[in-house]
């Protein structure tokens, strides 16, 4: 059933916390190279779904298949090594390190993934890693501040740094958790432009998003979750016209 170009397959995943069904029979296929948005009202199970995908939570039933391999039950770092990278909603950066170091660490992870006691070679001699990191910083527009301590950045800049840390790993699948939540309209637009730049680099993106503007600007396909179930799936236009979706989500949130 897995088509050739399906890169991520969430197969009949069920997850409940106590009596609450956070995810019920969620079956989701993400095609390679597309940008797939997952939307839904608060508590619909979006974050749970993301956590299941990166190995933070284990599903009760079902499995997550990435690139033909079951990743359920694997350690988070193993999933990352396979090319699944998550960009966090609340910035999870290395606040004590400077920006360049923040991006170099994931760059090293990509290159020297398995543990290697490379204790005798200086970081400074690894110009390859450094150039990748600088390039990534440049793409998100933080190159000018590469020497600043990450903890001192503004919230918006921290999120751009997050993005740079994700991009430097050249992920095959990038999971973005509400990349524009809490941003001003201007920052939101620049983030959209930024994400658009990466279209067609062989990178598949899954975006969890509240903001319809973002979803319809970026997504090729949209899945709508409500109360842990998929209630609609299709192209942005199809979803927009879906009555159930309007009732469950759009109607309420965007009158």
């Amino acid at each position: 059933m897995t088509a050739r170009n399906v890169v991520l397959h969430v197969a009949d995943v069920h997850k409940s916390f106590g009596g609450l069904h956070a995810l019920a029979d969620v079956d989701l296929q993400v095609e390679e190279g597309t940008t797939h948005a997952i939307i839904g009202p608060n508590g619909a199970g979006k974050s749970t779904l993301l956590n299941v995908c990166i190995g933070r939570l284990a599903p009760d039933i079902g499995a997550v298949v990435f690139d033909g391999q079951v990743i359920t039950g694997k350690q988070p770092h193993e999933i990352n090594q396979m090319g699944v990278v998550r960009v966090f909603q609340t910035p999870e950066i290395f606040s004590d390190l400077d920006l360049l170091q923040n991006v170099m660490v994931p760059a090293f992870a990509k290159r020297d993934g398995a543990f290697r006691l490379n204790a005798m070679r200086s970081v400074a001699t690894r110009t390859d890693i450094r150039d990748e990191a600088l390039h990534s910083l440049e793409e998100v527009g933080l190159l000018g501040q590469k020497g600043a301590i990450a903890g001192s950045l503004s919230r918006g800049d921290k999120r751009r740094l997050e993005l740079a840390m994700g991009l430097v790993q050249k992920p095959r699948l990038l999971l973005l958790d509400e990349p524009t939540a809490g941003m001003s309209r201007h920052d939101t637009n620049s983030t959209i432009d930024l994400l658009k730049k990466f279209k067609g680099r062989g990178m598949t993106k899954v975006i969890i998003e509240h903001d319809m503007h973002v979803v319809f600007s970026l997504a090729d396909r949209v899945t709508v979750l409500a109360q842990g179930r998929i209630i609609a799936e299709g192209s942005p236009d199809e979803v927009r016209g879906n009555a159930r979706v309007q009732e469950a989500y759009l109607g309420g949130a965007h009158p």
């Binding site: 770092h77 290395f94 090293f108 543990f115 290697r116 204790a119 600043a148 790993q169």
Partner: protein
């Protein structure tokens, strides 16, 4: 920080080596230029550098590092007893034993983090200490302490030299290192320089960067594709090896070892040294070790009579209360001074002495735009 970093590091290493090797000259004016004290600086400097590789870089606070020090010492003395009085096999043996021990304890303790890690290391160290005092007496000679005796086999020595009367002394191919001579000091100094060099490389390496990233946000490391356990275990074992080397050198300079070397107060001491000097800095721990050992030496030799001599010029009404107050802090009261200073450091100067020096430096260094844009992060190696 990327402007020719390698050259700066070589300067740092050269400067450090120069200072260490010239200690006898530098310490002459303050009356600390005798080998027994200076080799203590070096030994505890090594211990603190090693502790700092774990605590300063990863933030894992071990309260059991003295156990590795003790294991190193015991291993070295056993090497003297069984094999040879030469210092080199003893040191190697000490490092290997401490590494094996650290591997086991680290593997278990690193299953937890934060305060639980501290408690686990503390528990292991206390177990080692208690066992060394009780059932392991055949290995440790209990309360008396492990020492050399005339009946020791010393297999290798027996092959080459005819036994002489009296206890043999620890030597380095003929030069005696025990008993407080300069040979002992220079052996320790050389070891300290090597250790400093290795620590420098670790700080600058990708490995060091990963450790710092773990300290900053371990959770993120997992989602960045790192299995953090091997990194932490490697840091733990390396720092255990440093402690083992320090313990071995203690035995090389004085081949008598008691279990109290493993007690948790001894672990506390290396924590104090590292924090006092500046955790996460390269030079700080060595500085902290030297300062603590120096003032321990000075303060504990002070007595009430010395104080009375110093303040004799004051009128009695002032002298007496002053002397009786100050006598709290000297002699046996040295630990009180240490406790007070340590508290002041943690409260007011969490970056330790290195942070203090850096602040003083920046007061004088008012060049326009002069290099201090980077906020004072503890993890920034300070030179």
């Amino acid at each position: 920080m990327w402007n020719n970093p390698a050259r700066n590091d070589w300067f740092l290493l050269a400067g450090f080596s120069l200072v260490v090797l010239c200690l006898p000259l530098i310490l002459e004016p303050i009356g600390a230029a005798y080998p027994a004290l200076m080799q203590k600086f070096c030994i505890f400097g090594i211990f603190a550098i090693g502790f700092n590789i774990l605590f300063g870089l990863t933030g894992y606070l071990s309260f059991g590092h003295a156990a590795f020090l003790g294991v190193g010492s015991y291993a070295a003395v056993w090497s003297f007893k069984l094999l040879t009085m030469n210092a080199i096999p003893a040191i190697v043996f000490a490092i290997v034993c401490a590494a094996a021990f650290a591997l086991v304890i680290g593997y278990v303790s690193l299953k937890r983090s934060g305060i639980y890690f501290s408690i686990l290391t503390l528990a292991f160290a206390q177990m080692s200490y208690n066992l060394a005092y009780s059932v392991l007496t055949p290995l440790t000679n209990g309360e008396t302490g492990l020492q050399l005796s005339l009946q020791d086999p010393r297999i290798i020595d027996a092959l080459f030299v005819a036994p002489q009367a009296g206890l043999p002394r620890v030597n380095l191919f003929g030069t005696y290192t025990s008993g407080g001579g300069y040979a002992g000091f220079y052996l320790c100094a050389a070891a300290l320089i090597v250790c400093f060099f290795i620590a420098l490389r670790i700080f600058r390496s990708p490995f060091g960067l990963m450790l710092r990233a773990i300290k900053s946000n371990q959770n993120r490391m997992r989602y960045t594709g790192f299995n953090t356990r091997p990194y932490l275990l490697a840091a733990f074992v390396i720092s255990g090896m440093y402690a083992g080397l320090a313990g071995g050198l203690m035995a090389v300079t004085d081949p008598l070892v008691g279990a109290e070397r493993m007690q948790w107060t001894a672990s506390g001491e290396v924590v104090l040294m590292t924090i006092l000097g500046g955790a996460g800095t390269l030079v700080g721990p060595v500085l902290g070790a030297a300062v603590i050992k120096y003032f321990e030496n000075i303060f504990s030799s002070f007595s009430v009579t010395t104080l009375q001599g110093v303040f004799g010029f004051l009128p009695d009404a002032i002298e007496r209360p002053l002397v009786s107050f100050l006598s709290l802090f000297v002699g046996d009261g040295w630990n009180l001074t240490l406790g007070v200073v340590f508290m002041l450091i943690v409260i007011f100067l969490p970056g330790g002495l290195m942070e203090g020096l850096r602040r003083i430096w920046s007061l004088f260094d008012r060049r326009p735009g002069g290099g201090d844009k980077v906020p004072a992060a503890q993890t920034q190696p300070a030179e």
